[in-house]
């Protein structure tokens, strides 16, 4: 961690000295979007796959309240406390006033409409792999949800992490929308990859990170220490030391939260199961097929 802090401090200094330009937030211009009529119903499926409510609904919300995206959930990390913002369709307190280009920019480039960088607690490194069409559908769905007039609290971060401009350097190193697994032309694996590497953002927890906070693609989904507290994030690659379950076992777990031994999911994974249980069976099977196809990694 100390090494990471020092690295970030030195990067921030370098950034301030000579690299102000390279840290400039990037945007998707409106003309770059494809012609697409947004479909809110399709966007609901994207919303579930993306697990948006898990962070952006009020803490402890259940049932219908999961669709009230007031924000407020606190994510305690070594850098400080991040608070999930209000992403309800309220025009001032939420994201109701955003254009399609602003929404796609936020999701794929981590840049806010006012030009600031978002911190990568918002998993745009994964969402960057989503299609503009899916994102436009998602925005249309969020527009159908109840607006909330109160803003959520701001982040509470220590120096140097409170220098947003430095996130530009982090993005230069770590924001890479290329796919990790080559699936050839297999449509089921391609669907599983879109869900795991993209909307589902599984790697955000299940892939270990390097000293710069980027994914270690050489240990893709191999688990590691839990950044939120004690314990380990499980290795979910098909290795003896990882996930030795069958594809059917994985699908069943994503549907019910039960392991093959009928132990139940716990911790943060329960919120994930709340989402995956609402996916189609075909989508759960695609995730399972993908997880059986990634390179096996020891450890965990």
């Amino acid at each position: 961690m100390r090494r990471f802090v020092l690295t970030l401090v030195s990067l921030a200094v370098v950034g301030a000295a000579g690299g102000w330009a390279v840290t400039a937030p990037k945007v998707v211009p409106p003309g770059a979007l494809p012609a697409h009529t947004p479909d809110a119903e399709a966007g609901k499926a994207v919303f579930i796959a993306g697990g948006c409510a898990s962070c952006h609904a009020a803490n402890g919300a259940e049932g219908r309240d999961m669709l009230v995206l007031s924000g407020g959930l606190e994510l305690k990390t070594p850098f400080g406390t991040f608070t999930a913002p209000n992403i309800s369709p309220h025009p001032e307190a939420g994201i109701g006033g955003w254009s399609a280009a602003e929404f796609v920019t936020a999701m794929t480039l981590g840049t806010a409409p006012d030009g600031r960088h978002y911190y990568p607690a918002f998993p745009y490194t994964s969402y960057a792999r989503m299609t503009p069409q899916d994102l436009m559908d998602l925005q249309a769905y969020i527009d159908t949800l109840p607006p909330v007039a109160e803003r959520a609290a701001g982040h509470d971060l220590g120096f140097p992490f409170n220098i947003r401009r430095a996130v530009g350097l982090w993005k230069m190193l770590n924001l890479d929308p290329d796919w990790v697994l080559d699936v050839g032309g297999d449509p089921v694996l391609a669907r599983g990859r879109a869900l795991v590497e993209g909307a589902g953002h599984c790697a955000e927890c299940h892939t270990p990170r390097d000293a710069f906070g980027g994914f270690r693609n050489d240990a893709w989904l191999a688990g590691g220490p839990d950044p939120e507290g004690p314990g380990e994030i499980p290795n979910i690659t098909p290795h003896d030391e990882g996930l030795s379950w069958s594809a059917a076992d994985i699908s069943y777990y994503l549907e019910t939260g039960f392991t093959p031994d009928f132990d139940s999911a716990g911790g943060s994974m329960v919120a994930v199961i709340r989402n995956t249980s609402q996916l189609s069976a075909a989508d759960r099977d695609a995730i399972a097929a993908y997880l059986k196809a990634v390179p096996p990694q020891p450890g965990g």
């Binding site: 031994d261 009928f262 139940s264 716990g266």
Partner: protein
């Protein structure tokens, strides 16, 4: 007189020995007892779950017996968390800190769990659909409690 005193002492020792022996059989610390109870709950969940998953044939008698056994094993579970036993035990998972920092929440979640098993036992499911409907709320409670009150070591 002396003989009856001796006899009384022997009797007392014998009774004491039996009591200790019984306690030993169920595990003699609260941590061992709660782990044994959760293991039994898990085993009976497996009997029902494997039927619902289609891995074993549906058997109404066995399913109902498993629900009754699950209720028996779950009884008194929340009383086995004395101070100072956070994270204790030899399993991959253990009791998390919120059991003690939010005792009322833990007890409320436990009450919902017991309520779900009681309802399933009372329903006496006789076919797969009824078993699935009866078991669903129990499964939800497994996750609800493990989300907040269990930790990975």
């Amino acid at each position: 007189m002396r003989l009856s005193t001796l006899g009384g002492a022997v009797m007392t020792l014998a009774v004491l020995g039996t009591t200790v022996g019984m306690a030993m059989a169920g595990g003699h610390t609260p941590v061992e007892q709660r782990e044994a109870k959760m293991k039994a709950v898990g085993e009976n969940t497996g009997i029902v779950g494997n039927m619902l998953r289609g891995k074993t044939d549906f058997d109404a008698e066995a399913a109902n017996a498993a629900l009754v056994a699950m209720r028996e094993a779950a009884g008194g579970f929340n009383e086995l968390f004395p101070e100072g036993t956070e994270g204790a035990g030899s399993n991959e998972f253990a009791a998390g800190p919120k059991i003690w920092s939010d005792r009322a929440g833990f007890d409320a979640e436990y009450a919902k769990f017991i309520g779900a098993i009681d309802a399933a036992v009372a329903a006496e499911p006789q076919d797969m659909a009824a078993l699935g409907a009866a078991f669903g709320p129990i499964g939800q409670e497994c996750k609800a409690c493990h989300e907040t009150y269990r930790m990975k070591k």
